[in-house]
Amino acid sequence: MLSATRHSALRTLRAQACSRSFLSESPMSFRARLLSTLAILEQKDGKLNSGSLGAVTAGQKLGGSVHGFIAGKAGKSIAQEAAKIQGLEKVLAVENEAYERGLAENWAPLLVENIKKGGYTHVVTSHSAFGKSLLPRVAALLDVQQLSDVMSIESEDTFVRPIYAGNAILTVQSSDPIKLLTVRQTSFPPAETEGGSASVEEGVDPKVESPTEWVSEELAKSDRPELASASRVVSGGRGLKSKEEFDRLIPPLADALGAAIGASRAAVDSGFADNSLQVGQTGKNVAPQLYLCAGISGAIQHLAGMKDSKVIACINKDPDAPIFQVADVGLVGDLFEKVPELTEKLKSQ
């Protein structure tokens, strides 16, 4: 994939060099000008969000230089931390409390100014709630058709993304001068946060006021690994019958495995688990080493969010449930017996 990227980048470079009169410039500066990526990094309360570091990895796959972008109340001090991320050449930082809450209304003009000033050819952010809300707004302001949830990068203008809840995989070529991508977190591992030595520069701050006001947030508190990046996930569905049973059976099993907890839409809709735990087309995408689920039938929309897991195990009493078609290990049985037994046996090992 990398060689394809380079190859195609070089080809563009040659084509441009032949067709235009940039002869006074060296090939190196061409390349730098032709391919440069801005990777938007997320932060919360002055801490870098590791989930957003996949944007740097994706930027490196594009070839060319990669600059990081960070903004918020403690923009400059996080920029020092971000400068150590491997693969970044430069970090643009904007320190202004107005950007702390990630509101798209002032972030979009902020990014547009910085993208224009830096002459970036690519802008990458992770397909998180923040990226999903922000990047299309930026795309519209730049008159660009954005690409969502990119799973792989074929070349500087050709990308692969899932459509129809992952039932089809689309390879698509963009003709826009600037490519805006949100990348799937599970497809691009986070870049290393140590060993880099990027320079830090102050970004442009257009200081556009946001018409929306942030009021409050309520985040589900958990000491468990974060769902989207956990290496193991234990997930429960409608088969658990009630919130009490969900809370009685699922957390102990997750603890025994050191796993994050997930849920199907049915379980979330019935109030067994918090919305933020939903795995699927409209919830989170996960691709852990182990996805162990109980009482989940395996509807298309659920499979969309977990079928890239390394190993899928399921417990379901219906031997014909579609989940068995994707599971590496399937156990037909009553989850009210099997889950406690599994928890006990895992604990005693």
Binding site: S148, Y164, T171, D269, G330
Partner: protein, 255 residues
């Protein structure tokens, strides 16, 4: 601006959510002929929310449903009207040249300005292209405030408070009309259109328009290189008991 709500609800005709899409053998796309289509589930939530605002006795002046696509989108709009939309506009777009989200956003901008809309409910994503862009793009083009993935909407005069779903929980935002809200699953439970309402919807106004009427060119920026089936997973078969499961998981290196 008056505080009367003029609500615009874009709706999309998509392959029904329960149908497993099949990739065409020539890898140019997904088979859509003779496949059941319906209203995009998130757009149902949009219509429902608009209708509920009226039922909550807010001053809802107009609920306009809009769809861009081939002739069959008229059915989708009739469904929206049967659920409670007052009227609709069908913008004819040939089936083989569908609009990209940016094109849809440009079209909706023109419609919103012409119809003097002050509140737009857009589904958070269409379940076919899974892009999740149109609402935010439209908000950018109109330079209106946006609230994405809404699970609760409260309107008091011109002030709108929206609870939105974010990674790890919910967040509440406040803004003033005009505004764009994208709808998430938890927002409401869409109603079924009753038979009398389906009959009444046939009499509601459905205007036919073209992209040229709104001065929008539908030129695509993206070219489909290919569409493929995802790599198939091989089910590893079943085990007899919990011990079997543990030993298989060990064998696979998962625990």
């Amino acid at each position: 601006m008056s505080s009367k709500l003029r609500i615009l609800v874009p709706v999309k005709r998509v392959i029904d959510y329960a149908v497993k899409p099949r990739v065409k053998s020539d890898r140019t796309g997904v088979e859509t002929a003779n496949v059941k289509h319906s209203l995009n589930p998130f757009d149902e939530l949009s219509i429902e929310e608009a209708v509920r605002l009226r039922e909550r006795k807010l001053a809802v002046d107009d609920i306009l449903a809009v769809s861009a696509g081939p002739a069959k989108c008229a059915d989708t709009l009739r469904t929206a009207m049967a659920m409670g939309a007052d009227r609709s506009i069908h913008v004819d777009v040939p089936e083989d040249k569908p609009l990209e989200p940016l094109g849809v956003a440009k079209l909706l901008k023109a419609i919103a300005e012409k119809e003097q809309s002050n509140l737009i409910f857009v589904g958070k994503q269409a379940i076919d292209d899974d892009a999740g862009q149109t609402g935010q793009m439209l908000a950018g083009l109109l330079n209106w405030p946006q609230a994405t993935q809404a699970s609760k909407v409260e309107i008091d005069g011109e002030e709108v408070t929206v609870t939105k779903e974010v990674d790890g929980g919910v967040e509440t935002l406040k803004a003033r009309l005009p505004m764009i809200i994208t709808t998430d699953l938890r927002l409401n439970e869409p109603r079924y259109a009753s038979l009398p309402n389906i009959m009444k919807a046939k009499k509601k106004k459905l205007e036919k328009k073209t992209l040229a009427d709104y001065g929008v060119d539908g030129k695509a920026r993206l070219k489909t290189v290919k569409v493929e089936e995802p790599p198939a997973r091989q089910g590893g078969g079943k085990v007899e008991d919990v011990d079997g499961m543990i030993s298989k998981l060990k064998e696979l290196g998962a625990i």
